[in-house]
Amino acid sequence: MPHLDAAHRFARWLSRSGSDADDVVQEAFLRAFRGFDGLRGSDVKGWLLTIVRNCHATALKQQQRRAAVPLPQEDDEQFSSAPTASTPDPESASTADDDKRTLDRLIAALPQEHREVLLLRELEDMSYREIAAVTRVPIGTVMSRLARARAALRVKWLQETPGEPRAVR
């Protein structure tokens, strides 16, 4: 099943939970199969990821309704107070594993609309046009979100890994 890996990866980054991601991907394949969302053009991967994204949004809404307490909106404010307690100390921050975990955490802490464009661009190697189709925003918005995501990641990375040499001039 080509694109299953990409669909699962994307769902996991959207939902930030493995089991939720599984459900979302399963639902997405069902919808793809039933043809709820007609495939236009030939970009099958983009089409499938769009369905994954819709399924995630639906699942999130259902969760919120069940919880009866509205979850906070994913905005920059919330994530500026993202967990920093587990920040590794500078001594061990240089190990590759810690770098990986830090990167994982920093990307997870990005607001969803920034995180998704960044991952679609860097992990799935999709073009602006394809990303715009999946995320349903104009290409200009894709560009600005991508720029903000990358800039935020750089700033946070420098904050978290003080041992690393800063921009060499």
Binding site: H8, R9, L30, F33, I107, R121, A167
Partner: protein, 262 residues
């Protein structure tokens, strides 16, 4: 304060600008230290993400779950399914509604082939083999005769298939003989020997070779298909296991075949 060109520099980095603009932006970056630093940052971020972020494959249980779901969706267990299996699905995009009586495996393989970038590969026979493999992985379809003993499996074929394939147990090498099955395709009863390798099943199909050519190694709908001929017998191993694992079994089978002939 950010250089006004930074969006264009980013677009250049992402390969989104034409050649003329690219030259223009490169010239700008030569003069603008800020944009040079931006390019370096973009490159290092990409490198870090592609190197360190998990590219993990979807869990096999999820894959199996989705197969089962598509299975149910297409109405497996509907006895009419098998009878109404014809080539309807080939002409009809599934989003127009492929459910109902279309055989599950075929519906599923239709989905897979749609999702597969290699649509243009030749060979409807190849489709049949992969569809048969997918069908075999559905509950209760894997084997007709369950045995790890080749002396049980091999004679069983005599009454059920048109060919007598090489059957051997390679448990020692990690390929456990699970059993045999007869599948009807290419207008004959093909013999299928099933091996288990770790979490993967490998179906080895054998039938009397026709004139139709078959690519040696190919990937269809994400399944690896390795085929070879011994005399007038066509062998074909299909699995979602990696190439190395499939080819190792092919080697074992070819060696065993040569021993049998001596």
């Amino acid at each position: 304060m950010q250089c006004a060109e930074h969006y264009r520099v980013q677009a250049y980095f992402d390969g989104e600008v034409d050649a003329v603009s690219a030259v223009d932006i490169e010239r700008h970056a030569e003069r603008c230290a800020e944009c040079r630093a931006l390019l370096e940052h973009l490159a290092s971020t990409r490198e870090r993400i592609r190197r360190d972020l998990e590219f993990g494959a979807a869990p096999p249980q999820l894959r199996a779950r989705i197969m089962r779901m598509l299975d149910q969706e297409a109405g497996v267990g509907d006895p009419r399914g098998a009878a109404r299996r014809p080539t309807l699905w080939r002409n009809r995009p599934f989003w127009l509604g492929a459910g109902g009586g279309v055989g599950a495996a075929l519906a599923a393989s239709l989905l897979f082939s749609l999702l597969s970038p290699s649509l243009s590969l030749p060979g409807p026979l190849l489709d049949e083999v992969v569809a048969a493999h997918v069908r075999s992985l559905m509950p209760e379809h894997l084997t007709d005769v369950v045995s790890t003993d080749r002396h049980t499996v091999k004679p069983w074929f005599a009454g059920h298939a048109d060919v007598s394939p090489v059957v051997a147990d390679f448990a020692g090498q990690g390929y456990r003989l699970v059993g045999g099955r007869a599948d009807y395709f290419d207008h004959q009863r093909a013999a299928v020997v099933v091996y288990e390798h770790g979490p993967h099943f490998i179906n080895v199909f054998t039938w009397v070779a026709s004139e139709r050519t078959f690519p040696d190694l190919t990937t269809r709908s994400g399944y690896h298909v390795a085929s070879w001929r011994v005399g007038n017998l066509q062998y074909c191993a299909v699995s979602d296991a990696g190439w190395d694992e499939v080819l190792a079994l092919v080697r074992l089978l070819r060696d065993a075949g040569e021993r049998d002939q001596r």
